[in-house]
Amino acid sequence: MTAQPGPLRPAPKVAGRILDAQLHLLDRQVLDHDGVPVTTVDDLELAGPAVDDAIEPGTPAPVLSALLTGPVLGTRVFGGRPPSSRLIRIPWKDVAEVGVVVRLGVSGESLDAGWVERWVRDKIIARIPGGRHDPR
């Protein structure tokens, strides 16, 4: 057996930064390049071997391809999973920085993740008098 007494040996060093999904990514606030909140990281999408297939030794590891948001939050809490077409993705290539928050390198206006906000703004809030009034 591989169970060893005493402290476990440290994992082999890797060249780049290490991110733990729960610890550093999930449930973090996502800001766009102007610092405007867009959404939270509700789940992550991996590109790699399909579920249930035996993994051949030497298979390249899955890669984190996108941050997910939208209905996937509900399924993460209550179980089940939405069909792939219902996932709202923020591709990893748009991510600029991971710290206390996740910062994007693009504007939130162009993202699918912002459509509800834009709909509420254009159909309701902006139509109420003073909706575009700057409070400062």
């Binding site: 449930d27 909140p37 959404t39 902006a126 009034h133």
Partner: protein, 408 residues
């Protein structure tokens, strides 16, 4: 000089903003039934809210993150959502109670039935949330709320027997009450002093006003001086009730009874001031709770939020507040007694406390967020002690509510 003024203003608004309908009603009820024998709970609650408000403000200033973002990030989606559901519902109850409180106070001033005042009050709350700048909103309601000091003044004018009043301060169950009702109201008072919305609002307000670590000293003074003085105000409400209502065999069930001791001691001028103070305090608290509903939702789901943004730039935040106000109006329109809603809301607050304060304590120790501004040893020790107290209160609340028939 200008800095001194700012500090003074901060303290004054902290005092005036401390009391809300929950504190008013619970303290008057307790004063009229238990005298001053529960004052120790107010002291305990005030120390607790100082501790955690200060901590959440420090987290907000150091990391720019408000409390509910922290709750979601640390508790995860599932426990975070449970907390959101509980906090949001309690918040909604509190919004309802505060708007009801504004309406009841306006009825006392005008004799126009309070249900007619409710849409007016809710509309006024929405207009301020929609249009008025955050700092003006805070300062005006806070300063007007200071007129509640009339409770303390009235207490002196009533010329009570100070010796026997001080004698009531020892924790003891009065003979016409039971241990159970005593404990139930202890939890209610604790919940009223430590309502979670105060922390949501306080930390979000720090982000709204763009506080940084440079403002930490001022923040600390506001909290550590303002809140205890606000607590003294709460105690004077209870003391007034204990002096005038307790001997007459009156147990408080309506807002009209809360103001009688002030009129007794300070006459019509006192009455005018206390009504102004109650309207300002409950209106201010209605603003804070309405905003808090928006803050909690937006921070959990990661929406854009804040009064410093144009409403159109925080669309879902503003929409959720409009919906909350409408829901509050709908609840009040059923004719439910706002005082009763208040009494339940403070007890439910006590139940939800642990889920809010645990993540704050954890994050306030995380250097990733706080850099060198992490908690000190004393604060951590106190925080752990309070966590235990909060947990006990939270677990005991529901059984006590059933045993006592909600304090009857």
């Amino acid at each position: 000089m200008k800095r001194l003024l700012r500090v003074a203003l901060g303290i004054l608004t902290a005092i005036g903003g401390f009391v809300d309908i929950g504190d008013l009603v619970t303290n008057a009820v307790v004063g009229s039934r238990f005298g001053l024998s529960l004052v120790w709970v107010v002291a305990l609650g005030v120390l607790g809210i100082c501790l955690f408000a200060n901590m959440s403000g420090r987290v907000a200033a150091a990391s720019g993150r408000a409390t509910f973002e922290v709750i979601r990030e640390r508790l995860g989606a599932r426990a975070g959502l449970a907390n959101l559901a509980a906090s949001f519902l309690i918040n909604l109850m509190t919004v309802t109670a505060e708007i009801g409180g504004v309406a009841l106070a306006l009825q006392l001033a005008s004799s126009v039935y309070y249900l007619l005042w409710i849409p007016v009050a809710a509309l006024a709350v929405w207009l301020v949330v929609w249009r008025v700048r955050f700092s003006i909103m805070e300062n005006v309601t806070g300063l007007l709320g200071l007129t509640l000091v009339i409770f303390a003044v009235a207490l002196f004018l009533l010329k009570p027997d100070w010796g026997s009043l001080a004698g009531q301060l020892t924790p003891a169950v009065p003979e016409q009450e039971t241990v159970w009702t005593y404990s139930y109201y202890a939890i209610a008072l604790f919940g009223a002093a430590m309502t979670p919305y105060e922390v949501f609002f306080f930390s979000s307000g720090a982000v709204e006003e763009g506080w940084t670590v440079k403002d930490l000293l001022q923040e600390r003074i506001n909290v550590l001086v303002g809140f205890p003085l606000g607590g003294l105000l709460s105690v004077s409400i209870a003391a007034c009730a204990a002096v005038v209502l307790l001997p007459a065999g009156i147990s408080v069930t309506s807002l009209s009874q809360v103001i009688l001791p002030v009129a007794e001691g300070a006459g019509k001028i006192g009455l005018a001031l206390v009504l102004l103070g109650i309207v300002a305090a409950t209106f201010g608290a209605a603003l804070e709770t309405t905003l808090s509903s928006g803050y909690t939702l937006a921070q959990f789901f990661g929406w854009s939020w804040g009064k410093f943004r144009r409403p159109a730039e925080a669309a879902r935040f503003h929409l959720s507040m409009i919906v909350c106000l409408l829901a509050g109006i709908a609840v009040l329109a059923t004719g439910v007694d706002p005082v009763l809603v208040t009494e339940y809301s403070v007890v439910f607050s006590a139940i939800a406390l642990p889920l809010t304060y645990l993540p704050i304590l954890i994050v306030a120790n995380d250097p990733q967020y706080m850099r060198e501004h992490v908690n000190g040893r004393v604060v951590n020790a106190l925080g752990m002690v309070y966590l235990v107290i909060i947990l006990v209160a939270s677990i005991a609340a529901i059984p006590l509510m059933i045993v006592t028939g909600a304090g009857a």
